[in-house]
């Protein structure tokens, strides 16, 4: 069963806010000079921010903010965030893949930004009733 896709907009301001909240101050997430110096096209979003946004989609689908029992992702491509007001968009889609022996629902998650898959092998196990 396909779940309703969720879209998240990410701007430079979001990266600054996430850096402060998470404690991840790696300059690839706020300095174009540093990011391009290490071979990136520009400032990129924290992988863990992308995972957090996809996690919002998962909790939305599960219907409860504390429903997640297991959650894993692979970061496949950086999410480049331009220095403008629009930033970039991440689209998160999910497919219900069935129920485990202990009654948990498995959701396979995909996140795409700029036409590229930015998360792969992303999966969550959620409780669907409480």
């Amino acid at each position: 069963m396909e779940l309703t896709p969720q879209r998240f907009r990410v701007t430079r301001a979001d990266l600054v806010r996430y850096a402060g909240a998470s404690g991840d101050f790696n300059p690839i997430h706020w300095s174009d000079r540093f990011a391009t110096g290490v071979g990136l096209p520009g400032v990129i979003a924290h992988g863990m921010l992308t995972m957090a946004l996809a996690g919002r989609a998962v909790t939305q689908w599960a219907g409860s903010a504390d429903a997640v029992v297991e959650y894993s992702v692979r970061f496949t491509r950086p999410v480049v965030v331009p220095d403008d007001d629009e930033g970039t968009e991440i689209e998160v889609t999910g497919v219900v893949k069935g129920t485990t022996e202990d009654g948990l629902t498995r959701i396979d998650v995909t996140a795409v930004s700029g036409g590229e898959k930015v998360l792969s092998q992303a999966r969550a196990l959620v409780r669907t009733s409480r």
Binding site: A21, M48, V58, A65, Y71, V73
Partner: protein
């Protein structure tokens, strides 16, 4: 030089205690746009059966970051951090992290692998309560250390 696979199994005992603050959870939830009341309103959290506001699923990284830095900076691993890329991340929860939790982290090197000139390091962090050692969440982080160009 590839990472030394004999370091698999090395464990780093808990360092300091992390006291989970209500405002830190609110700040983290706001930063990811998570507006559900259980992240912000203690009354809503209590109605859902928790002692205080509930952290979003990826919040434990804020707790494990400083403990896993002990592993990454281990001189025996000799990691060039400028070559590190975050590969995979996984959480398995016993229960959500809640404001007021006093947590300790035990890190273990779970896997070291070399492939295609790159090194892969998986660190497992067991997060438990400081008082009783009740397990709360297990966090796996796989880092890719890119080989020389």
């Amino acid at each position: 030089m590839p990472m030394d696979p004999s370091l698999v199994g090395r464990s780093y005992p808990p360092g300091g205690t992390y006291l989970v603050g209500r405002e830190k959870i609110r700040e983290f939830a706001a930063a990811i746009g998570a507006s559900d009341a259980v992240h912000h309103d203690p009354d809503a959290a209590r109605k859902a059966g928790y002692a205080d506001v509930v952290a979003p699923p990826t919040f434990p990284v804020a707790v494990t970051m400083s403990s896993s830095e002990r592993v990454i900076s281990d001189p025996d691993l000799a990691i060039d951090y400028s070559r590190v890329v975050h590969g995979d991340q996984r959480f398995r929860y016993v229960r959500p992290v809640v404001a007021g939790d006093e947590l300790v982290c035990t890190d273990t090197i779970e896997e070291i692998m070399s492939r295609g000139g790159h090194d892969f390091l998986t660190v497992r962090t067991e997060v438990a309560t400081a008082a009783t050692g009740e397990p709360v969440v297990t966090v796996w982080m796989k880092l890719v250390v890119r080989g020389e160009d």
